[in-house]
Every structure is written in structure tokens, then in C-alpha cells.
Amino acid sequence: MYTLRKDRPTLKEAMTAPTTPLIETAIEEQLDRLVNPGTWFTGGERHAICSAARDGDATSAARRAAQRVSKEPTTITAEWISELAADGLGIEAYVEVVSIASIIRAVDSFDFGVGVPQRALPNPVDGEPSRLRNDDVDLHNAWVPTTGRAVPMNVLSAVPAESAAMNDLLAAMYLIPAFNISEGPTMGNKTAERDGLTRPQMELVASHTSLLNDCFY
């Protein structure tokens, strides 16, 4: 089972680290993680889910889900998630698929933006999924169970390993998810600046990305 690197940056280190190495490290860590055994899928299955999200075959419920999350996320309905469950993809496994498809999309969009080719996935790593459940989740304002009202930071909380990984990537690519800290590159700092990009500039990019994706959260 994948565990987060022991040498991952502390909050203080992450707040002062130079950007490009921080993003690169975070992306390489995610790619490695995506082909390791997860919570409900083996490394091989996660590799296939990633490939399906990118354009690979969609011959299983998990792969169909990955492709739709990646390509047509706004067409997803609660009924369709129920159909996936009837086809063997339980809600927690669905959450893991959502995470995998969303994370690989983040990586691919970044690479397309900076002008480098799409990265190849590493070979899958053998091992068994952890099957670790989070008993502290329930249905609130989402179709998937979460710890409290669903917001981006806890939307994957039914699968804690995915939630932690996604928040790590969010911290490296956007801002550190700490609303109670009003200095440094944190979400709580309304005047944060990163690499010469001011908070309003970051928010303009974020808002326009969401608009183009037809996402109105």
C-alpha cells in the first residue's frame, strides 16, 4: 500500500519552498502513487483507470467511470452512480476512481500548459489494496459520503489516502488548504502571491477554468 513520503515537506517548508521543484516533486509523487495499490484497487487496476481517463478502453465500470469523470463530468447523475454500483463499483471504489481521474487530469493539464509532452505512467506495482474504510463519513450535500458538508478539501474523505494525496497536490499547484493561516501561500491569505502571480490573478485563472468546465461550485 502506498504511504505518503516520510520526507514530504512540513507546512513551514512548503510555504517557503521554490515553486517548480515543489510542483515537480508533487507530480512525480502522484504518478508513483497512481500505479501503486490503493484502497480498493490494485496497482494494475489503478494504472488501467488512469489510462481510461486519458483515452484508454472503458470496458469495466471503473474505467467507464474514469472516462466520464475526465471527459464529461457535468453529465454525471446520482442515478448513473447507482447503475455503477449495480455493476459492481461500490461508492467508496467510485470515490477512488474519481480521485484517480481528477488527479491525472490535473497533471496532464499542467504539462500541456507549460508545453511538455504527456508523462508516461510508471509500471504498476504489485500488492493488495488496503481496503481501509473511513467510518466517520455520511451523506450530506453530495452523492458520496463525506466528513461533514462536502467541500473540495473533504470531498474524497470516504477514501482517506486519496483525500490526503489530492490535498497535497492542491497545496503544490494552487494554495495550501489552511484557512486559518493568513500568511504565505495559503488559502487563508487573501493577498497571497506565488511566483509573481497575485491572488486575484490566481482567482481569475481558477474562475475561468471553472467556467470553461461548466462547474459552478
Partner: protein, 108 residues
Amino acid sequence: MLRESAQLLGLDVDMKGVGSPTVDSGIPSGRELIAFTEAVVLRDELEVETARVALEAGLGKAAMVRAAAVIGAFEMVNRLMDAAGVGPTEQYRSMGEVIGVPLPQRFD
């Protein structure tokens, strides 16, 4: 957050610039940021190089890399929220009119 952070920096922002590339948002290099975002999200092979060069010319390479990272982060977050069925909050429901883009029917 865009409006709030802009006010703190003393910027006079036209929120319609978020929804329309033809409207100047009032944010420095806003047009270049919007053009780059469109090229990346829409995977426009023809436009992305031009948009990248223009953004780098205006804000520098590090800012261009950061902008690409922010796009990546929200490509991820958008999918997470849509796939989990989390719709707009009450606070966000009023934003459609402000930015000149009404909420789609699926949120009625």
C-alpha cells in the same frame, strides 16, 4: 475570493471579465491569463504556444508555470465536485448574474 482579494490590493475589478474574454477584468495581465486558460482547458494546440509566450512576456516564466499549475488544480477540483454531485452554494448562486453567466438548468 476574486473580488475580495482584488479589493485588498486596491484593484477595481469588473467581474464580467471572468465570464467574457472581451471584457477587461481590470486585473493586470487579465487578458493574457484568460487566453492562456482557454487554450489549456480547451486543449487548443494552435493557440497555446501564442498564449504561453504572451503570458511569459507580461508576467515572466515562473508566473506562467504557476498559472498552468492553478489551471491543473481547478481541472481537478471541478471534476471532483461534479462527480460527487456538489452543486453551487447559496453564496455562489448569485454569482451567475455578477459574472454575466447564468447558472445552467441542471441547478434549478
